[in-house]
Amino acid sequence: MIPEIGQLCLVIALCFALVQFILPMVGFWKKNIILGEVAKPSAHAQVLFLLLAFICLTVSFLADDFSVLYVANNSNTALPTPFKVAAVWGAHEGSLLLWSFILAIWSSAVAVFSKSLPREIVSLVLAVMGAIAIGFMLFILLTSNPFERLYPIPIDGGDLNPLLQDFALIIHPPMLYVGYVGFSVAFAFAVAAMMTGNLDQKWARWTRPWTTTAWLFLTLGIALGSWWAYYELGWGGWWFWDPVENAAFMPWLAGTALIHSLAVTEKRGLFKSSTLLLAIGAFSLSLLGTFLVRSGVLVSVHAFASDPARGLFILVFLALVIGVSLSLYAWRAPTLISNVGFKFFSRETFILINNLLLVIATAVILLGTLGPLVFTALDLGTISVGPQYFEIVFLLPMIPLVLMVGLGMHVSWRSMQPNSLLRRLYLPALLSIIVGILAPWWFFGASSFLTAIGIIVGVWTILSALLDPIRRVFGKINRISRSAVAMQVAHLGLGMVVLGITVTSAFSIETDVGLKPGQSSTIKGYNFRFEGIRETFGPNYQATQGVFAVSKNGEDYTEMRPEKRIYRVRTNPMTEAAIEANWGRDLFIALGEPLGDGAWSLRLQYKPLIRFIWLGCLVMALAGLLSISDPRYRKS
C-alpha cells in the first residue's frame, strides 16, 4: 500500500509541476500576470508531495519491504539502518527521486526568498524550473519507477553495493545533487532575463547568491567524492579523471566562471552575454553529467546500471532544454550587449582571462570525456582517454590561470596604475618564489621544475589572499567588505588545493611489499611492523584484519589495522585501507593478497599534505557561505 501512495504522490507532484510550468508561460504570453501567481503555491505543493513520495520509499526500505523491486535490489535485512536510509538514493531510481525532490526544494526556496523581486520574473523563473521538474518526474515514472513491485517476493534483498556502504557516500550524492540542481536556478534566471529582455545589475544581484549556494554544495560534493575514493577504493588515489568525476567537475568549472562573470555584471553591468551563456552552460553540463552516468554511452566505475531506453529519454530531454535555451540565447543575447568599457590593467581584464581559461579547461575535459564516444560514432576505432591525458591538457590552461589569481584579486575595477600594485605585491611574490625553490629541497631533498612552479603558485595565491587581512591587522586599511573577505577566503582555499596537489603528487612514496608476521618495512622514517592477521566480523560482512605496529624513529607511534572485507550477499572482496592522518601527511596501508607462508602483499604509502586538497575545498565552500551571508543580498 505504501509504495502505491508514494507513486500517487509522485503523479500529483508531476501535475503541480505542469501547472507551475504552463500557466505562468501562458500568462507571460497573454500579458496576464495573475496566471503567473499560481507558480509559487504549485512549487510548495510539489515539494510537499515529493517529500511524501520520498518518505514512502524510505519507509519501504526501513520495513524491509522486498516486494518493492528497488528495495529488493538494494537492501537487505542485515544492512545497518543508516545505510538503509542511504540506500534510498544508492541506485538509479532512488537517486532520481532525490534529484527531483531537491529541484522542488530549490523551486520552493526561490518562491520563499524572492519577495523583493518583480512578480513577473519570479513566476517565469519558477516556470522554467517547473519544466525541468516535469522532465525528471516523467523520466522516473516512465523508465525508472522506484515503486515498482516484484513478484514473487524474495525472502531477502540483494544488499546495497558494498562500495556505497560508507559514511561519505551517505552524504556525497545529496551534496552533489544540491549543487547540480542548484545551477537550475541560475539557468532559470538566465532564461527569464532572455524572455523579458531585461538584464541589469539588479538581475545579477538576485542571481548571485543562488549561484554561489549551488557552487558551494557542488564544491563540497566533489571534495567528499574525492575523499571517499581515496580511502574506499583502496589504492590511495584521490582523483581518477573518471567520466563520472569529470561530469561533476565540468559544471563546477563552468559555475566558477559564472560566479566571476556575475560579479562583473553586478558591479559594472558588463559581460552580460557571457553570464547568460555560462548560466546555461553550468546547468547544461549538470544535465549532461546525469546523462553520461545513466545512459551507458561511456564506461565508468561509478556508472549506474545503464539502459538505452533511459538514454534516449534523457537525450531528447537534454536536446529540448539545452537546445531551446541556446536558441533563445542566439536570438536574444545580441540585444543585451552593454556599451561600457575598461582599460587593460583592470579587474575586468583579469576576470576575462580567468573565465576564458576556465572555459578552455572545461572544454578540454569535455573533449577528453567524450573523445572515445566521438571516435566510435565516427568509426575511427575504440580509444581510451585516461589520467595521463587529462593531467597534461588540464594544466595547460590551469597554470597561467592560477598564476593570475594572486594578482587579479588586488586589481581594482575600471583601470589601475600597475606601479602602485607592484609596490604592494613584490614582497609576497618574492617570498613565494624563495619558498617554492627552497622548500622542496629542505623537506624532501628533491624538486623539479613543475613542482617548484606548483609550490610558488600555491604559496603566492595563499599569501596574496592573506595580504589584505594582514594589512588590516596592522591598521593599513580600515575595513574589508564581506564580499571582499569571501573572495579572499575562496582564493586562500584555492591556494591550499594547489599546494596540496603539488606536494602530494611530487613527494608521495608508495611501496608494494610482501611481509610475513614479524617482518617490517620502513618509509620516510616510519617503520611498519606486520604483527599478524586476525578475523573479525561486521553486521553484514566478515573481514580479515592485518595488525601493524608503526614506530617513528624507533619510538612506538601507533597501530594501524587495514581490512579486507567479504560482504555476505554481494561476495566481492573490498579493501578497507588503514589511514593515519595529520596536517602534514597521511600514512596509508592497504592489504593485498595472501602470498602463502603467512605472508601478505601490502601497499604502504606516505602522502604529504594530501589533506590540504580537501581542506582547501572546505575553505572554498566556507567562502561561499560568507559570500551569501552578505546583507546586500537581502536589501530590496
Partner: protein, 181 residues
Amino acid sequence: MFFIKKIKFFIPVFLFVGLVLVFAIGLDRDPGEVPSVFIDKPAPSFNLPKLLAPKEQLKNTDMLGQVSLLNIWGSWCVGCAQEHELLMMIAREGVVPIYGINWKDDRSDAISWLNRFGNPYKSVGVDRNNYTGIDYGVYGAPETFIIDSVGFIRYKHIGPLTRDIWFDEFVPLIESLKAEI
C-alpha cells in the same frame, strides 16, 4: 553585415547540435566492446602442445588450406558451456573444422570437460599461461575467429556463439570464403 556580427551567438547552439548527433549514434553502441585489430591480418603463429596428445604440437599452419574456426575456451568459463551445444552441431554437420585453444585452464579439468560434454574440436592446443591468447588479443573466453584458407583472420566474435550469430554472421561469410578457394 548585421548577420555576420550576430553569427557568433549561434556558435553554441551549432556545437550543441553536433554533440547531440554524437550522443544519438553513441547510444546504441557498447562502449566496452573492443573491436579486434586483427581483421584481415595474418593469424599470429602459435605452436602449442595438443590437449589429448601432449607430445604432439598444434601449429597455426595446421589450419592452412581450408576455412576454419579457432575457438578460445576453458572448462571454467560459463559462456563456453553455453555455446558448446552449437559447436557440437557445427562439428556434426561438418561445416568447418573447429580448432580449439584451451585457455588458462587445467589440463585434467579440460579433458574431463570434453569427456562430459563432447568434443567438437578437430584439435585442441593448450595455452595455459596465456601466451597465444595475448598474441590473439583475447580478453575473455569464449572468443571465436574465422580463419581463411591462407591463414588470415576474417572475423572475430567475442562472447558465446548463438544460433542467430552463427546463421546471420558466420555462415554467409564462411560460404563466401569457401567459394574463394
